[in-house]
Amino acid sequence: MNSKTLPYLLLAPATIFLVVFFLWPFLQIAWLAFSTDGGFTMQHFQTMASNWKFWPTFWNTVILAAVVVPLQLVMALAMAQVVAKLKSTRNTVLYIFTIPLGLSDLAAGIIWLAIFEQSGFLNSMLVGLGIVEKPILFLGYQNLWVIFIAVILAELWRATAIVMVILVSGMGLIPKEYYEAAEVFGAGPWKRFVKVTLPMLRPSIQTALILRTIAAFEVFAVVVALGGTTLPVLVGETFNWQFALNDRNVAAAFALVILAISIAATLVFLRVLRTPKGATL
């Protein structure tokens, strides 16, 4: 084995794997969505979009992401700033902050169910404090917006950690001299944050936003755990069409919609938050 062929041999398993389990199924899903009896058709997309549930589903998903992701960025920035100021307790606090990173979205949904269900902890507290007289059915279809809020809280709780981890490791790359220089010129903590931290963190913020937005479009188990099918989201509907309605073509069309908005969001973040040439470290 010489060093000409060796790298290709080492890469071969991973490449074959990604072609078989990533590129090929992707082509198949596209084929499923656009074909009928071997010909091209838009019929599956029409079936999908003409269903009364499609647009509410679409907007639920997009609005959830649009609310959750910016809030997560702000929260993660605050957490990362807090961590940066800690000394002896840094590792403990960091560990606590990163705990939700390892939890599944289903577990997060169940955890927040313990709080929001009718005999749950939120109702116990409200009744205990005398704010309401008897427990409220928070997660019913009459209270769609409460389910919405519960999902947002569960998502904030679960997935802010990943944003924070990316930002903290990004902050570690900013040279101390930049802050010292800013301080010499009289910049206060807020100004240092806005003029040094934020611009220098740009690549990390970009990565975090892309990762999180794509994941937010895939929200599924949290919503099912908290609201069943009361609050439809895109992945849930994909699942529904695949199994309950047994139409794989429409399910594939849904999958392509999720893919399309994921790629669109990625491109927007790549463009808006691009690092100017020559500005890298």
Partner: protein
């Protein structure tokens, strides 16, 4: 400042603001920690209460350390099998993703060759895709080749989710080992394989272990592909998702706790590597 303010007061005022700021800061730290920990505590309270207490109202917020819910959960039909399937799939994912990802990471860190950029592009591309959705066509493929509803089939799909991370993480771990160390071993008579085995492997083993645990967690937590690809051999996540609308509350909470506990241990085990991993995944 006017002259009326005694200069002697100034330092005290400053330190007052300092301690008030400090108090606010620590209050914020405690609040953020509580935000993470209290929901987990509440799940623990429900898990450690009897089934009657779980549906009772109002809740006290203190566990009664009754094992009723846990016993019910463990003796519920299909739970132990689902737990076993989850472990099996996660272990297979762990082995596959390291066995396939680590050589690629090594190749990227040690060689310059045509096609390197294309491969990196392929790996990075996977990040912009909602990968679990690919389980839909894969399910059909598996029925054709007889891998449907098998742990190994699901593990293959979970490996697709874990491989990009495995490649990027092992790439950075190998990049951290100077090539000179390997070259020194070569000049002392080792061949490439021996040098790797005797010099590189011991150095990278902790990092590789961390990324293996990471792969385990990805598989352990995955819901959608698991629900699509398994019917009889459900994993714990698929089992719980399927039974969400029909199962009693105490089963759901005990199931949630069963999902959370291993994840807590794993995150604790890899905490040192967490930042190294994500620092790299950035680029």
């Amino acid at each position: 400042m006017s002259g009326a303010v005694a200069t002697a007061d100034k330092p005290r005022a400053v330190s007052d603001i300092g301690s008030a700021g400090k108090f606010l800061f620590w209050a914020g730290v405690v609040l953020l920690c509580a935000w993470v920990l209290v929901p987990i505590y509440l799940l623990a309270v429900n898990t450690l209460s009897s089934p009657q207490q779980v549906t009772a109202f109002p809740k006290t917020g203190v566990p009664s350390f009754d094992m009723g819910s846990i016993q019910f959960f463990l003796s519920f039909e299909g739970v132990l099998k689902a737990l076993w399937n989850s472990v099996l799939v996660a272990v297979l994912t762990m082995i596959l993703s390291i066995a396939i990802g680590a050589p690629a990471g090594y190749a990227l860190s040690r060689f310059e060759f045509p096609g390197k950029a294309t491969f990196r592009m392929l790996v990075l591309m996977t990040r912009a895709f909602p990968l679990p959705l690919l389980a839909l066509p894969i399910a059909v493929m598996f029925i054709r080749i007889g891998l449907d509803d098998t742990p190994i089939g699901l593990a293959l799909v979970h490996t697709t989710l874990a491989i990009p991370f495995a490649v990027l993480i092992t790439f950075s771990i190998f990049s951290g080992i100077p090539l000179e160390l390997e070259e020194a071993a070569w000049t002392l008579g080792c061949n490439r394989l021996q040098a790797f085995h005797k010099v590189v492997l011991p150095l990278v083993l902790p990092g590789i272990t961390a990324s293996a645990i990471f792969a385990f967690t990805i598989s352990w937590n995955e819901v959608f592909a698991a629900s699509v690809l398994t019917v009889q051999n459900r994993t714990l996540t698929a089992f719980l998702l399927q039974s969400l609308s029909v199962s009693p509350l105490h089963l759901r909470f005990a199931g949630g706790a069963a999902l959370v506990i291993p994840a807590l241990i794993f995150i604790f085990a890899v905490r040192k590597y967490m930042f190294a991993m994500w620092g790299i995944a950035n680029r």
